[in-house]
Amino acid sequence: MAHVKNHAHSQAQGHDDHHDGHVDQESLRRFGFWIFLITDVILFATLFATYIVLRNNTNGGPTGAELIEMPGIIASTFILLTSSFTSGLAVLSMNKGNLKGLIGWLAVTVLLGASFIALEVNEFVHLVHEGATISTSAFWSGFFTLVGTHGLHVSIGLVWMIGLMIQLKRHGINNITKRKVDVISLYWHFLDVVWIFVFTFVYLMGVM
């Protein structure tokens, strides 16, 4: 059974039965990260509130419905959904003690995340060419701030994930790298959740 093996593995490496403090520290760090995610929820809530309130303030300029091109958005939505799944598979490989599988799935997740960002940059360039910049109207300010903040989070996640892959190559799977992988996969699922709401409120409602 995967779990028993895994448990024995961690015992061999960290002797965590004798040093309970170690285990508690790591789970405390996981919880600390969870609290950060909750504060990030609040940050996004303020951006969503701003966007929704200003959705009609287009100042006579272009509206979202006129310029948004759904095919690219639909593609990036499925790419991000898939990357959330592959980051889960990475955690699953880790729990089986499979370092190669773990790094491999993280690499797939990074590639999917990078294509998401590429599509987003492409979309922003298209919008700017069509005359919708962050200073065009209150609506576009809200739009670029909300979607851009999410994109920034994904970009940071990419850098972080690449750094973690290097650490995993050097140190292998131990209690500390385990916690780091758990935390980044939580972060990635969280970004997927935020994107679902961006997709619903900004894009689907925008073209409705």
Partner: protein, 118 residues
């Protein structure tokens, strides 16, 4: 440690289900979660792109599928339901949702009669 005891208990009782280990999810739960999230993305997409519903009905479908999608991610990917008691993760999440809901709903309410009409 409570966590360890429950782990070894689970190992004893779960022989034969090699993938059913708890606490970190299984391949099955990830696949179910992934399929559900794809379906929950396609439903609103089809409804909106084909103009199958308008106004309130469309809004309800959009919000409903988004919230279900949120729950799928929480349960199948983040394993919130597998947390040991006391459920601090759930409590902080509910606190966050309360604040987020207050900010969004409150802003909409305050600004309703000040918004630019379509």
């Amino acid at each position: 440690m409570a966590q360890h005891t429950s782990h070894s208990n689970g190992a004893g009782g779960n022989h034969g289900h090699s993938e059913e280990s708890h606490g970190h999810g299984s391949l099955k739960s990830y696949v179910i979660g992934f399929v559900l999230s794809i379906i929950l993305t396609i439903i609103p997409l089809v409804v909106i792109m084909n103009d199958m519903l308008q106004g309130k009905a469309a809004l309800i479908v959009l919000l409903g599928t988004a919230i279900l999608q949120f729950l799928v991610q929480l349960l199948f990917f983040m394993h919130l339901n597998e947390e040991n008691k006391p459920r601090y993760n759930l409590m902080t999440l509910l606190m966050g949702i309360l604040i987020a809901g207050t900010i969004v709903a409150g802003s909409i309410w305050i600004m309703t009669y000040n918004a630019v009409a379509t």
